[in-house]
Amino acid sequence: MTGLSFDVAHLLAGGLVLMSFTLLYQDRLSALINVYAVHALVLSMAVAWQAFVQQAPHLYVTAVIALAFKALIIPVSLHRIIRRLGIHREIETMVGVGPTMLAGIGLVALSMVVMLRVTEDADRLAREDLAFALSVVLLGLLMMVTRRNALSLIIGFMSLENGLVLAAAGAKGMPLVVEISVAFSVLIAFIVIGVFLFRIRERFETIDVAALDRFREARE
């Protein structure tokens, strides 16, 4: 492992964490989708670099899948969904950028403390990748917790999944079959979520998940 290839891997994985923070920072839905596309783009670059470093050609396929599905197809269809729902100009109310950011920084610190301690004698590149992947996953979870709009929840879920792919690419030798099946299951999940979005919208005339809570309280 030469210094430069480690540095590039570090740069790309760190860029992924930064994009997760940018996702947390956005409060406009269409900007959120665009940032998610960049998130997936950075992921596919990171995976491609891993393929180059590890000389594992099947990871190139993973990178291409990430690029095609997550950076192109999903963002384009999300844009179409919000346009059809008529919420493409909406600004989401959320917990507040400052506390969310601080919580995110805390999660990144936590994942680094945990990962660096647990994987003491692992390969340096895998170690670093796992720490970053765990923080991307935690940031995705944080986003799902702090947002109220169902569409933001989807994006949080997708970015979480990007973190999983990063971890899998760093831990040498994830079989291609698993990767392809994961990619397709995400796509299916996306379609199901899209259907659900329209159903929620039909019933409650909003996709704010707080409406679901109010509905449940009313029934109890």
């Binding site: 210094g3 430069l4 540095d7 740069l11 923070f21 920072y25 920084i105 990144v108 680094m112 720490a131």
Partner: protein, 320 residues
Amino acid sequence: MGVIRDLSVQGLQMMLVLALAPLLTGWVRRLKARLLRRRGPPLLQPYRDLWRLMRKEVVLAHNASWLFRVAPYLIFAATWVAAALIPTFATGLLFSWSADLIAITALLGSARFFLALAGMDVGTSFGGIGSSREVMIASLAEPAMIMIVFSLALLAHSTQLSTVAGFMLSSNVGLRVTLAMALVALLMVAVAENGRIPIDNPATHLELTMVHEAMVLEYSGRHLAVLELASFLKLLLYISLIACVFVPWGLAPVGSGLAAAGIGLVAYLGKLVVAGAMLAIFETSMAKMRVFRAPQYLGAALMLGLLGALLLFVSRGGLR
């Protein structure tokens, strides 16, 4: 002999920053005007303004205390000392053993403290609102600055700028995401600290959103000239700081000859011209933010600084 040479290098840098600061501001103003298709003032206009203000009579408010009269000199002295601590064309400054990045931050912080006090001293509403806004910006910009300093210090194992610049010139820097984040965060802090456009507009007076101009509104004559010079110096200081840490090419190393110093000087002037041009382009292409958006902007800078410091721990040799 060595001491004399060091002393002369240090003295030369002090004089150089003082002489160049108004020119830099003039360059930025001129370029901004040209970008807006106006003719703009001549490059030397800031010198003329300073000279004119120097000869004018000082008008003081009746209830101005001694602090009001002393503050401009304190602010100017602190800013000048801070600017003198940053290597411009040669490293190995005489005072760098005693003063580092933390001292520079502290000097700037005390200058700001006195400026905020002076803004409130006379008791006009504009001064008070300017001071409160300045302190609001400072309360977020200073932690961001400190985080950047920490990241750099962890990387270079020193907070002294000469050592940091030497480290950045050496080959074991590599490609680091921390440095990119620190650079972006430092740029954001520099823009906010100098009251440039997304935060404050330096070209206006008597506007409800002004920050720096509101605090110096009560000053006149030589006091105003000194304060203006201090704010020119601050802009130069931040540009030199960024140039010294992130683009240190051309800096003359310790104990080098005249030729290296000459190259360093030319490189420094080039960096100033480029940085001024970039600032002018940035300012003409941005709209000013609402004052209440400023905490979000600076929060992003703080977040970048924190994240950069964190990422350092997983990067190659970050802890060693």
